[in-house]
Amino acid sequence: MNVLMFGWEFPPNISGGLGTACYGIVKGLTACDDIKVTFVVPKAYGDEQPANIRLISADNVSIGSRTLLSEGCTSVTTLEVPSKLVPYLTPESFIARYQTSSEFKETSPTEVTQESIKLNFSGKYGPNLFEEINNYAIVARTIAQSNEFEVIHAHDWLTFPAAIAAKHVSGKPLVIHIHSTDFDRSGGSINPVIYDIEKQGMEEADQIITVSNLIKKRLVEQYRIPSGKITTVYNAIGPDSDGTNSEVKKRSKQKTVTFLGRITIQKGPEYFVEVARLVINQMKNVHFVMAGNGEMRNRIVELCAMYGIGDRFHFAGFLSGKEVPEVLRRSDIFIMPSVSEPFGIVPLEAMHANVPVIISLQSGVSELIRNVIKTDFWDVHAMADAVHGILKHRKLSKALISEGKIEVSKLSWELVAFQIRDVYLNSIKQAS
C-alpha cells in the first residue's frame, strides 16, 4: 500500500508536538512491511541551502527530495515543497513572521522558487497565509498526478486544502489526522476561515483520525461530523525519545517543579503560578521553573512579582529540542495544567525520564495513562496538594515513577502505525 502523506518537518526543527507526532507515525509506518510512504513536507526555505534541493519532477514543479530517515527506513520517500508554512500558524502570526522579510523578498530565494514553480502568482507576494495554503494545494495537485498511491493522509488544517486537491485529482480515499482544532489553538475565539477549512477537510475525508476522545467529541459537537468515521488513535513516544542514558538522579534538598510549553492561554500558565504560590507559602526548598515562551509571558512575570514569589519562580525561556530532556531530567515534578490539550506528548516524555507527572483532566493524554495525578486545570488546590504530596512522601513519588515508566514503555509508534493501517484499509474498503 502506498500512502501519500502531507505532513510536517521532523525534529529538530519543531515547535511543538505536531512534528514529533508526524515523525513517530512515519517511523512507525515504516515498520509495517506492506506500507510505502511518500512524505510531502512544506520546507520553509531561506535558511536552507538550495543545493539540498533536487528537481525530481517535471510539470514545472520544483520539489526537493532527500532522505530524512536514513536508518533503515527505505520505504519513505520525502518530498519537500518550498513553502512558508510551519505548524501552529495563525493568519496574524504569519503576517508577523514574514512582514519584516517582505522588503527583501525580491532578492530572496522566494523569487527563485516562484519561477521554478511557474505558477500564476499575482506577482505581489504579500504575507497572506491563505494564499500560501492555496499555493501549497496547487503543488499538491501536481504531486498527486505524478505519484502512485492508494490513500492520502494529511495532518492538521494547513495541509487540508492540499490533501483535498490531491483527492480530487486522484480519486483516492482521504484520511485526515486531527492533532488539534482551532478551538484548542485559539482558546475559543476561532477564526471562521480556518474553521471552514477544517470542516471542509473533515467532510471530504473518508476517515478521520483524532488523537484523543476529547477531540473526537469536539469534532462531533462543533463540526457536526458523524462519529462513525472518526477513530481515536493515541500518540506514543519512541524508545529513543530520551532518557535511555539517564543516570540515577541525585536527590538534592532543593526540589524543582517544572512547567514546559508555550506560555499561551490554552496551556494554563497562570494556574501553574497559583500552584506555586500555594506551595511556596507552605514548603521550603521548592523551586518552580517555567520553560517556554509565548504571548502571555509578560503577564505571568507580573503575576509572580505581584505574589512576591519571584525568588523561587524561574523563567527558563524557550528550550531547544536537546535541552528539553535535560530540563525534564532535573525536575522532581512535571506539571501540565493545560486548559485545552488535544493530546500532550510531553507528559509521556517526562514519565520516560523518571519524573512524576501532574496533568489536567482536560488533556487528551489523560485518557491514555493512569499512573499520573490528574486534576481539573482550574483546581489549583488539588494540584498544589499533589505537588506537596509527591515532594513529601517518597513512596508516592517512587510509585509514580516506577509504575509510570512501565506504563510508558508499553507505548510505541509501531502500535500506533498498526492502528492507522487499519484506518487506511477501512477507507480503501469504503471507497471501492
Binding site: Q282, H381, A382, D385, H388, G389, H393, A399
Partner: protein, 423 residues
C-alpha cells in the same frame, strides 16, 4: 442433611472529604458527612428496612426453618445510631425471633490485623464485642475479620480474644484441593475453628441477585440448585456469604420473590436445611488443621490475595500504626473515634488502581481521580491527626502544673462539633 449457613454483611465506611495540605491543622472535619448520610439513608430506605420486614415475615412463615447470620460492621453500626436508629430496632426484632446470629468483628471495620503489633487488633475486637452484646443482646461467637482477612497470626489473636470460630474466604490459595464445606482448625492455634466461605455458591447467588434479567428466568434457580447439589452428602455445611445490599435496592421486589422461592425450595427439600454456625460447631468438629502466613481475603471488587497491597497502601498503613503508641494513653474521645475510623479498610481499597471508582477515568463523581489522590488525601488527614495527637499530649503535660484555662480549648471545641453523638 446438608446445612446451609447464610451470612449477610452490612458495611458502610466513614468516607473522607477532600482534605488539602493547606488545611492541615485548621480543625477541618475529615468526613464527607453529606455523602455518608445520603448513602446510609439510601441503603436504609431502599434496602435494610423493607428487607428486614420481609425476612421477619419469612422467618415466621417458615416456622423456625429459616436461619440467618448477620455481620454489621462497627462503622455501619455507628452510622445507624447517628442517622437511622430505627434500623437497629428492626434488627432487634429479627434477633428476637431466635433465628438470627450476629457475628463479631472489629470496632471500625479496621485493618488492624495487618499491623505488626497485635494490640490494636485485640483492642478493637474487645470494643466491638461489648457493643454487639449491648445492642443485640447476643454474645458473638463467630468472628468476621475485615474483608474476611485471615492469616495464622489473625487466627491466634482472635482465639486469644475469646472467639471459638472465625470465617474467612474459601480461596483456592489456602484450600488447594480441600473442600470449603468442612470445619477446619487453625494450624498454630488449635482452639479456633475456621469456616470457609463457599466462593462458587456465594458468587453465583450474588450474580443472580444483581442481574434482574437472570432473576425472571427459571433457569437461574435451576442452575443454583444444581450447584448446591455439588455439595457432597458427607460434607456438613456450605457457607454462603453475601453483601446484604444485594437483596435490596433496584428491583427489590423481584429479588425478594426470588429469595422467597429459594428459601421455600430449600425448606421443602429433604436434603437441605438452614443452620447457624454456632449450632453446627456443637454438632461437627474440625476435620483437620489448615493455615497460611500469606493473607487471604474477600472483598467484592478485589481478588483473594489482595492484601497486603501495593507500596502506597503499605506505606499508609505503616505511617498509621506508627501513631498507635500515642493514641493508647489518650482519653480524648474524639481522637479515639478518628483513630478508629482512620483504620477502616475502604480508605486503603481506594489506593488501588483496580478500584471500581477508577474504571471510567475517574468521572464517577467520587472525590478521587486515581489511587494517588486517595493516598495524598489520606496522608494529609493523617498528618492533621498526628498534629492533633501532639497537641493533646502537650495539653496533658501542661494541665497539672498551672491552673488556668487550657490553651488548646478552641481546637477541642471544634472537634466536638464534628461528632455530636460522641459527646
Amino acid at each position: 442433611m446438608k446445612n446451609i449457613c447464610l451470612y449477610f454483611q452490612i458495611h458502610h465506611p466513614f468516607s473522607f472529604q477532600t482534605f488539602r495540605f493547606i488545611e492541615v491543622g485548621k480543625s477541618k472535619s475529615y468526613y464527607d458527612d453529606f455523602r455518608i448520610e445520603r448513602e446510609i439513608q439510601d441503603a436504609v430506605t431502599k434496602s435494610y428496612l423493607p428487607v428486614n420486614d420481609f425476612l421477619l415475615k419469612l422467618i415466621h412463615q417458615s416456622k423456625g426453618k429459616l436461619k440467618l447470620s448477620f455481620y454489621i460492621s462497627g462503622t455501619a453500626l455507628d452510622q445507624f445510631l447517628m442517622y437511622a436508629p430505627m434500623v437497629l430496632s428492626s434488627f432487634r426484632q429479627l434477633a428476637d425471633t431466635g433465628q438470627i446470629e450476629f457475628l463479631g468483628g472489629t470496632a471500625s471495620h479496621s485493618i488492624a490485623s495487618l499491623a505488626k503489633r497485635g494490640d490494636e487488633f485485640i483492642h478493637q475486637i474487645k470494643l466491638n464485642k461489648e457493643r454487639m452484646e449491648y445492642y443485640f443482646g447476643q454474645k458473638p461467637l463467630v468472628f468476621v475479620n475485615t474483608d474476611l482477612l485471615f492469616t495464622n497470626q489473625v487466627g491466634k489473636l482472635v482465639a486469644e480474644s475469646g472467639y471459638p470460630m472465625i470465617i474467612t474466604n474459601g480461596a483456592k490459595k489456602i484450600l488447594q484441593w480441600r473442600s470449603p464445606n468442612y470445619i477446619y482448625s487453625s494450624e498454630n492455634q488449635k482452639k479456633i475453628n475456621i469456616l470457609f466461605r463457599n466462593e462458587v455458591i456465594s458468587n453465583e447467588l450474588t450474580f443472580l441477585l444483581s442481574n434482574p434479567k437472570a432473576l425472571k428466568k427459571p433457569e437461574g434457580m435451576e442452575q443454583l440448585f444444581s450447584t448446591l447439589q455439588t455439595i457432597r452428602p458427607e460434607e456438613p455445611l456450605a457457607n454462603i456469604y453475601l453483601n446484604y445490599l444485594t437483596l435490596g435496592g433496584f428491583g427489590r421486589v423481584e429479588k425478594l420473590l426470588f429469595f422467597q422461592t429459594f428459601v421455600s425450595k430449600i425448606t421443602k427439600n429433604g436434603t437441605f436445611s438452614f443452620s447457624l454456625p454456632t449450632e453446627l460447631s456443637k454438632e461437627f468438629g474440625p476435620v483437620t488443621q489448615i493455615g497460611t502466613d500469606e493473607p487471604i481475603c474477600w472483598s467484592e471488587h478485589f481478588h483473594s490475595s489482595y492484601f497486603p497491597g501495593n507500596t502506597l497502601q503499605v506505606d499508609a498503613l505503616t505511617q498509621l500504626f506508627k501513631l498507635k503508641k500515642q493514641t493508647g494513653t489518650l482519653g480524648n474521645a474524639n481522637l479515639q473515634i478518628d483513630w478508629q475510623y482512620l483504620q477502616t479498610s475502604d480508605h486503603f481499597h481506594l489506593m488501588d488502581e483496580n478500584h471500581p471508582a477508577y474504571l471510567d477515568n475517574g468521572s464517577n463523581g467520587g472525590i478521587y481521580k486515581s489511587k494517588y489522590d486517595a493516598y495524598i488525601n489520606y496522608m494529609n488527614i493523617l498528618e492533621d491527626f498526628s498534629q492533633r495527637l501532639k497537641a493533646e499530649e502537650a495539653r496533658k503535660k501542661f494541665k497539672p502544673k498551672i491552673d488556668r484555662p487550657i490553651q488548646n480549648s478552641k481546637r477541642t471545641l471544634a472537634n466536638h462539633q464534628h461528632h455530636p453523638i460522641y459527646e
